[in-house]
Amino acid sequence: MFSTIFFHELKYWLKKPAFYIYMAIFFSLALFISAANAGIFDSLTVTTGSSRTVNSPFGIANLFISLTIFIFFLFPSIIGVSVYRDYKSDMHTILYSYPFTKSSYLFAKFFSAVLIVTCVVLTIGIGMFIGYRLPGTNPDLITTFDFKSYFNAYWVFILPNILLFGAIVFGVVTFTRNIAAGFITVILLLFVQGVAESFLSDPEHRYIAALADPFGGAAMQYYTRYWTVAEQNELHIPIKEVIIYNRLIWLGVSSVVFALVYRFFKFSQNAITFSLFKKSQGVRSTKRNFGGITRVNLPKVNFDYSFLQNLKNTWKISNVEFKYIVKSWPFISIVLVGLIIVLIALADLGNPFGTPSYPRTWRMLQGGGAFVIAINICTFLYAGMLVNRSKIAKMNGIEDVTPIPNWSLFLSKFIAIVKMQMLLLTVIMISGILFQLYKGYYDIEIGLYIKELFGLKLINYVIWAFLALWIQTLIRNPYLGLFVLLVIAIGIPFLSLAGIEQPILKYNEGPGFGFNDMNGYGDSLGRYLLYKSYWVLGGLVLMVIAGLFWVRGLPHSFKERIKIAKSRFKAPVAITFLVLLIGFLSLGFRIFHETNIKNESYSSKEREQQRVEWEKLYKKYQDVAQPRIVSVKANLDIFPKTRDFNGSGEYLMVNKTDQVIDSIFLNHNSYPSTFEFDRANQLVLEDTLYNFDIYELKRPLIPGDTMKLHFTVKNEPNTILRRNSPVIENGTFLNNFQLFPSLGYDGSNELRDDKTRKKYDLPPNALRPHPSDSSALGNTYISKDSDWVDFEATVSTSEDQIAIAPGYLQKEWVEDGRRYFHYKMDSKILHFYAFNSARYEVKRDKWNDVDLEIYYHKGHEYNLDRMMRGMKASLTYNTENFSPYQHKQLRIIEFPAGGFAQSFPNTIPFSGDAGFIAEVDDSEEGGVDYTYAITVHEVAHQWWAHQVIGADVLGATMMSESLSEYVSLKVLEKEIGKEQMRKFLKKALDDYLTSRTFESKREKPLMYNDGQGYIRYQKGSLVLYALSDYIGEDVLNNALKTYVEKVKFQEPPYTTSIDMVNHVRAVTPDSLQYVIKDMFETITLYDNRVLSASTTEMDNGKYKVDIEFNVSKYRNNEKGKRYYSEVGRDSITYLPEGKDKPLLSVQLKDYIDIGIFTEDDIDGKKKERVLYLKKHKITEINNRLSIIVDEKPTEVGVDPYNKLIDTRSDDNRQKIN
């Protein structure tokens, strides 16, 4: 019987168009994405330049597995429905009396459906295979076909997932006889998986997470998380330990699920119902069989078919529909799960370093973003359910012959959907408020909740509701409709890959809005609402079409529906349709006109070509001698209300070269500007596209001679659609690069990927010059047209605001209702300054004779003391260890948002969301006090950037960012103690190891880094912190002090990383010289692990600890390939017992921490205490040590504090029982 049913099922599917539609959809999806990844759209959009191979085993596994997740949404209608179908068609009444066994029935149903799903999966594989190889893809991104990659992804990950989720959905739909239930199950499983993932994201839970992830993704990541680019390109996913355990666990679970289905399935005529309450006692029931003749005497009632009554009816019907939605349990379960997710998101939101921010209302609203998917899925699903509701209930025969007009029925469904959306938005509001109350935070902005949720966000969902009703009306199959809608909603953002970048072409796209405490929504609302109006019109056009195709009665074909639609397209409808369509198109045209024709707008492809052309046209002037700016006088009028600025300035320039300069190369921006030199000249080239002008001087500038440039710059007026100025209403933050001109060619925007450059006939990108190139040390990495300048600025703003620029306030006055500030710097600074303006409160303090000020937004008082302490601590540490502070004043200035702070001379703009509203928990278990840490870091930049600035060569940021971060760690260490530093270091290590896997170009050693954040911040801080541990903080700081003395405020040639490292090298003992090489000159990683540890109590009451551990060291090249040997030095090896592959290592003469710990019980909390911590010289991979300690140890570790870079930091320690 098995085969009969099995083949019957297969035949059923092979005859169904849906099967081929699914295959076509997945084939094209796979084809599109893989081809896009392989650069097929490079002629339309930006070049996909990367050192990553897209069809490496790793790449294939990732794409294949993630595309299969979409198939889960088909499970309810393929696997789930296989048994339910027999009920639905009432076949079961006959079928279940036939002589076949439960097992052959269930197995045949299940496996035939699994086979069908597998066919669809196969089309994904084929789609990917073809997609990678379509003509037009970039062969550099593709490697040869490897069957094993596809095969492994399929049988290790995809097939078990199909079996598991298939079995669950099969059970759910079979027992509930409800496809929606199966569907919701899939969504819930995906949700739950996401929640579990975020719960277990902590590195310490990775092993559990790897086993617990039913998709197996976490198990794969367990091994591949820190794979470098080279490893990602070459290695196969290792099918070993954790992955095998995970797969076995979940295969086991799927067998159990299937066994349960088998156990509870009965060939019965009724669905199995689950009830929370015990069945009440049965009662014998009989009906009345006699009587029943009555006079029909209907009461006289009024019938009202007026438009107004129809409107009222519409509302009434929508209530019936709304009640249906709210009472249906798919909805209830989505809401419940959504609520849990929102609460988790709120708790987890923006917690850098485990430190939360205060639950401001706008943050609660951001957290509600996790609910977006729930609202959209409900909209898509219930649009289908409502449109088809009477058809599904077979009530359409009765309903359709009532005199209710079509529009009323259709509109009532729409209103019900909107009501549902509002209910869901209320859920966000309530959970946000609950969370705030739970946190004891009572500044609840109800008005903001209502405005954002029921105003701004609702429009967005309503526009989706239009589309959903349209699709569901046309398709008339709620689940197919839902699938199509999901594909559309998920697919729209991907259209950019194919070069469709204009938001007016992508349904419900357009600029978003953002909120912050200082500036509210700023000017984002106008743009947002304009685009939403456009899409509302577009959505209404769809609604009219849907109304035309609304099914009343029983049309038998789509052709007939078209005929009916045509006949309905009469005067009022046709006019409405045309009016809406014209409105939609003309608003679209207006947007297009303003963003593309009246103003320039470039596609990313065009921008790429411009970068090429810029380089081709002007790079030749890179080395032409130019004067240097030595003095700046700036004027800037900021108009917060109209968001305009009007600036002017004067550069005093000197010819510091020994050549005669006959032309000035002026590089400016596209703002309306004027330029005037104080010496006769002729404009010989004016490039209005790239804003690059060449002025030929009538009388050349001889060496040592000076000249002046006077310029003005202002913005074009802002419009709703276009922001023509970076000024905002409250909290403006501008810098000179945004506004003011510079001299000479700017190479910072050149294309960097060599393969892309080759395509455009550009020579390979040489990166920045190597620090050993003595001819490249003429510029700092901040500025190319100046060294140190005198600075003076007059800034004006509206009367209620304070405007700030670097320097000391000389004079403040009010004139014509505007407030003016004149600032002047008393010493020379880098050509790098900012302007801020906002309604500020000021907090003042003093450190020695330095004035400390914090300009903050009223209401953001939370962490001002912390910041003051940070400023003082950093000033103290830097002054004591390196050199005096060069200014008499230090200011922190709040700006609205962005999550960063930036250090300008005596002025530190600090964003409101990066520390001002942090809710720091000062207990030991609390997260890192990052407000304090950032403050210390930024203040340290007054030395490490504003005193010592590297030449614009590789490695320059080590002397600014890495050293500032080092200072921050050291100050923090003094504040919280060495033991607490581990959480900071582990986070830095994890961030470094994770970020480097995304490197698309090349990773260089720290002292030659090309400016990547993960090297200069995370690796830099780890390395310098470890170095201070190796050679001693004092020794290191003394070396740095000497270095600062030598190079601070120097004129070109500027210092380099080589110079700094040499200072450190000079104070490093011979035995540790290898550390300099490992940490600065190469990319070196360790693989340290404790193999075994045991302890025995000795007669004298002391404890002997035996430890066996491995130490292995390797180096990475710039692509991340491992090397265990070096030129002239072989690797060392060790063959562990029972293994056939030896472990390798670079030759070792290394000093590594060996630690032994015990635990103390302090107030019921376990606290670790060090019994032994000492560096041991290690020369072999495999080592055994016996150490005697005074107390009973609980844990041992090799490099227990993770000072060294190690991709597996959790095996550095082991507990002793």
Partner: protein
């Protein structure tokens, strides 16, 4: 008011001509539409009830052009489809209130009174709070009548309402239908001849999308008076008799003999006895004449 159907034709996508150039006039009172399964009864009724559009032809009810002005007909139409479902988890009262809204009863109190009355009429008052989805077949059909009454219809169309009802329910249903149909046009389709005999003052026999006979039950029987003959035969002689006579029906007797009825203008044979014509005979004669002729 009169329902006039002219030259109505409907062909389905699969090529079946469900209604074939049909002409029919129906006056006030109960009109029985008799026909075998698949005769096109439901198609015809759905077409009159505005649920589907014909390929050609016209339907007038009074001065309402049904195909042009569907809304006008829907206001005075009561329709009970052959099979129908209801929204789950909704009580009879709530559903009827919903339908009353759809049918244009504006005031809440009007709706309440109306719903109350139709529940009384159909004897569903006791179970008004119960979910209709859980009703038995008979109750559900009565609910169908209840919803149909909500707009005091002038034209009532009921499609095979008695199929599957037990005798008590069937009687009850027909009685209610009779009551409501006193002053309006009721079209009532069935393949059970008894229904028509008991209820209708006018009838038509439909097969293959065509009207085979349009008459009243009594007149149709009268026409056959003296033309129906009966005889008891052995089972083995059936084929022989069928070849010789126009056999309309054959029924077993308890002793395994067969009772055959034959249509003939004169006494076919001496052993035949004259029989009182029945509506069944009318039905079978009409169908017999429509039987495809084997050539």
């Amino acid at each position: 008011m009169k329902l006039v159907i002219k030259d109505l034709t409907k062909t389905y996508k699969n090529g079946v001509k469900a209604i074939d150039n049909l002409n029919l006039e129906i006056g006030t009172g109960m009109f029985g539409l008799l026909g075998p399964n698949g005769a096109g009864k439901s198609s015809l009724m759905r077409t009159i009830a505005t649920l589907q559009s014909p390929d050609s032809g016209s339907i007038m009810f009074g001065d309402i052009n049904v195909l042009e002005d569907k809304m006008a007909l829907r206001r005075i139409l009561g329709y009970l489809p052959q099979s129908f479902g209801v929204y789950p988890k909704m009580s009879a009262e709530a559903l009827l209130d919903y339908f009353a809204t759809l049918k244009g009863v504006a005031s809440k109190s009007d709706r309440a009174a109306l719903v109350n009355e139709v529940l009384e009429i159909t004897n569903l008052s006791d179970v008004r709070k119960k979910n209709v989805a859980g009703y038995s077949g008979g109750m559900k059909q009565r609910f169908g009548i209840a919803q149909l009454l909500l707009n005091s219809p002038k034209l009532i169309i009921v499609d095979e309402p008695t199929a599957g009802l037990d005798p008590a329910e069937r009687h009850r249903f027909l009685n209610v239908l009779r009551e409501v149909g006193t002053n309006c046009t009721v079209i009532f389709s069935t393949h059970i001849v008894e229904d028509v005999k008991e209820l209708c003052n006018e009838m038509a026999i439909l097969n293959g999308g065509r009207i085979l006979k349009h008459s009243t039950p009594s007149k149709a029987r009268e026409e056959l008076s003296g033309k129906i003959w009966t005889k008891i035969i052995e089972r083995d002689n059936l084929e022989e008799n069928e070849a010789k006579y126009n056999v309309l029906s054959s029924n077993y007797n308890e002793d395994n003999t067969l009772n055959i009825r034959v249509f003939s203008d004169q006494l076919p044979d001496a052993d035949f006895k004259s029989a009182e014509p029945q509506l069944d005979d009318v039905y079978f004669i009409a169908l017999r004449q429509d039987e495809p002729v084997l050539s």
